[in-house]
Symmetry: C2
Subunit: 418 residues, 2 copies
Amino acid sequence: MHEQIRDAIQQRREAYTELLKQWVQEPTLSGQEARYQHRIAELYRELGLDTDLWEIDIESLKGNPLFHCQRDTLAGSPNVVGTWKGTGGGRSLILNGHVDVVPEGDHAQWDQHPYSGQVIDGCLYGRGVTDMKGGNLSAYVAVATLKALGIRLKGDVILQSVIEEEAGGAGTLAALERGYTADAALIPEPTEQNLFPRQQGSRWFRLKVAGIKAHGGTRYEGVSALEKSVAVIATVQALEAQRNADLDDPLYAGVPIPLPINLGRIEGGDWPSSVPDEITLEGRIGVGPGETVAAAEQALRTAMAALADQDAWFAEHPVEVEFYGACWQPGGIDLDNPLVDKLSSAFERVHQRRPELQASPWGTDGGLLSQYGVPAMVFGPGITRLAHFPNEHIRLDDVFDVAEIMALTLIDWCELAE
Amino acid sequence: MHEQIRDAIQQRREAYTELLKQWVQEPTLSGQEARYQHRIAELYRELGLDTDLWEIDIESLKGNPLFHCQRDTLAGSPNVVGTWKGTGGGRSLILNGHVDVVPEGDHAQWDQHPYSGQVIDGCLYGRGVTDMKGGNLSAYVAVATLKALGIRLKGDVILQSVIEEEAGGAGTLAALERGYTADAALIPEPTEQNLFPRQQGSRWFRLKVAGIKAHGGTRYEGVSALEKSVAVIATVQALEAQRNADLDDPLYAGVPIPLPINLGRIEGGDWPSSVPDEITLEGRIGVGPGETVAAAEQALRTAMAALADQDAWFAEHPVEVEFYGACWQPGGIDLDNPLVDKLSSAFERVHQRRPELQASPWGTDGGLLSQYGVPAMVFGPGITRLAHFPNEHIRLDDVFDVAEIMALTLIDWCELAE
C-alpha cells in the first residue's frame, strides 16, 4: 500500500504543484483570507469531506482567557474545517494549518515578486509557502490520496484551515470552541521534517519610553525618549541572555537562542526638529516549555523596573509595559504518546532513518490544542529559517515526502476500516 | 511720544490679550492655516494696510534652490502681507512672523488643553504662543498703536504673516519672490528679548539603517536593523560632540550645545515577532553661522560612512543618508548695521539697560531674508526653551514691552514724516 500511495502522489505531482502555486499567489495577510478560504472549502467538498466554512463571531471568544487577537472583528475571515468521518472505533487526528501569512517586508530584498509562486530548481517561492501553505498542501494531498485509493479509516481525520495563527491563534481557538477536538493533532509548520514534540510559547509586549519634548535647536532643554530607549534595548538584550543562560532543556541543545526576545517594531517622535517625548517598542518574548506565560511577563516587568537603578530618569518615568495582541501557549505532546512512535515509523519508512526530535523555538497553535486536551505534534516540510524571511521558499520534494509520511501515519493512527 | 505709545498699548491691553487668546485657540498646524490667515488679513485691512492675501503656487517655487517643503501643495494655506506705505525717503522694515505651529505632542504632558489660550499668573498658555504668535501680536500692536496715534512714517512698514517656517520657510520665500523686500527685517521669534543678530541654519535628514528580516523565534537567523540603529545613534551623538568641540564663536558662550544634532523621529519594523529589516531615523543638524549647509551635510555623510570601520555590516549595508524637507539658511545682520543700535536704544528706553546679544541656536526665516539681501535681526518676547514644549506659554508683560520697543524702533528706523 505504501507504494500505491507514493505512486498516486507522484502521478498528480504537477497538478498539486500548480495548486500550491495558486495558494501562494493569494496574499492571505490578516484580514485578506476570504477568497482563499472559499477555495479551500471547495476543495474539501470535492474530496467528499463534511465541510464547515464559518465566520467567527469575535464577541463569543472575548471572555476566553486564551483569546488573543488584535482585530476588532473577524468578519470576512472565515475558518474552514473538512471532516473525513471514520467508520468508528479508531483514533481521530486533526491536521491543523493556518492560512494567514506575515507581511512580505521590503520587496527589494526579494529576488522575485513576493507572491510569485515561481518554481526554480525544485523549489516553489513566495511569502507563506514555508509558513505554512506547503505543509497545508501535504495534509491535503495525504487525505486526497487515501480517498483516491478508496481507503477507508476507522478514526476521523479533521482537516483544518484556520486564520490568525500569526497573531495569537483565534482561528484554532474558534475551531476548538466549535467542538473540533480529537485524540491528537499534527501541525505541518516548517520543521524541515524534524519532529517538534515541544513548542515554545510566546507573548507580545509593548514598551513605552518617556521623554520630554523640546525644540531640536535647544534639545538640551528636553529629554530624548530615543536616547532613553537605547538603555531599554540593552536591558532587553541582557534579559534575553540571562533567561537563556538559566535554561537547561536538552531538547534546545544547538539552538543559538532557545528563548528569544525579539524587538520587532519601534516608533516615536513626530517632528525631525523636536525632541521625541515618547518611543514605543513592540516585540515578543519566548515562553519556555516549563514556564507559564505569566512568569515570562513578570520577568520582563522586573527587568524594566530595574532600569531605575541605573538611571534616575526611569525612577520618575518608568517604562510602561503592556502585554497585548498575540499570545501562544507553550505546549506539545508526551514523548510516550503513540503518535510520536507512529509518525517516527512512517518517517523511517519514507527516509530509511529515524527522525530528529527537537523543541520548537517558536509557538504554534499546538499550545491551544494542548490546553483543550489535544496533544499536538509539529512536523512539516517547510524550511524553518525561511519563515517570515525574504525569498521564502520550499522544496517540493519535501512537501510530497511529508504528504506520504502523513498518509502512512493516518493509516497507522486511525486504522484501516475492515 | 514714548509715554503716549506706552499708554495707548496699556489702555488696549485687555482687548489685545483676548485677540492673542483667539489666535492661540486656532491650531494652525501645517495645512490648517486658512481661517487664521483670513482673520489676520481682516485685521490688517481694519488698520488700513495695503493687504495682500494670496495662495502660493508651489510649482513657481520648485526651481528655487532655497525652496524646501514637504508638502505637495500649499493650496489652502495663504500668506498675508500688510503694507503700511510710508510718505517716502525713510528706511523700510519687514516685521516677519510665521503662523504655523508644531504638533502639540502628548496631551498628558500639558496641564491645560494645548490650545486653551488660558491666562494664569500673567502668562498666556498654548501651543504656538511663544513660537511665535505672541511675537506676532507685538508686531501687530506696534503698528496698530502708531496708526491709532495718528503717526505717519517716511519708510514702509511691511507686516508679514507667513506659513511653513517650521518646515523650511516656503512662506517667507514666496513673499520674497512676490517682491516683498526691505532695508532690514525684524523677526519676533522667542528670544526672551535678547537680540539674535546671528542665526544658526539647519537641515533635515533621514537615515535608513538596513537589517535582514527573520522570524522572531529564530531571530539569530536575521540581522536586527534596530540593534544596528543603536550604533548609528551613538555615532550621531559623537558627531555632535565633535562639531561643538570644534566651535569657538564667542556669541555661543554659555549655550550647552551650540550646534545640536537632534534625532526627532524613529520608525521601523512591521511585526512584533519579526526581526526589523529597516529602521528610519529623522532629524535636524545645526548649520553654524560660519558654515554652509553643504558642509554640514558632508559632515553627517562622512560620519555615517565611517561606521563601516567599527562594524563590517555597515561596509556592505551602508546607512542611507538623505537630506529632505526643511532647510534653514544660516543668516543674520552685521553688528554695525544701524538697526542693531536703534533696536538696542529702544530696548534701553523701555528697560533702562542694554540688551544682550546672542547667536541663535536655531534657524529662522531670517536666513532666507539674508539670502535676498535683507539683513535680519531676531528679537521677540517668547520664552526660548518653551518653543515646541508642553505647557508652552508667554508672559504678557513681555509681549507688550516688545510692542513698545518695536514701535519706538519703527519711529527711529523709518523716521517720522514731517
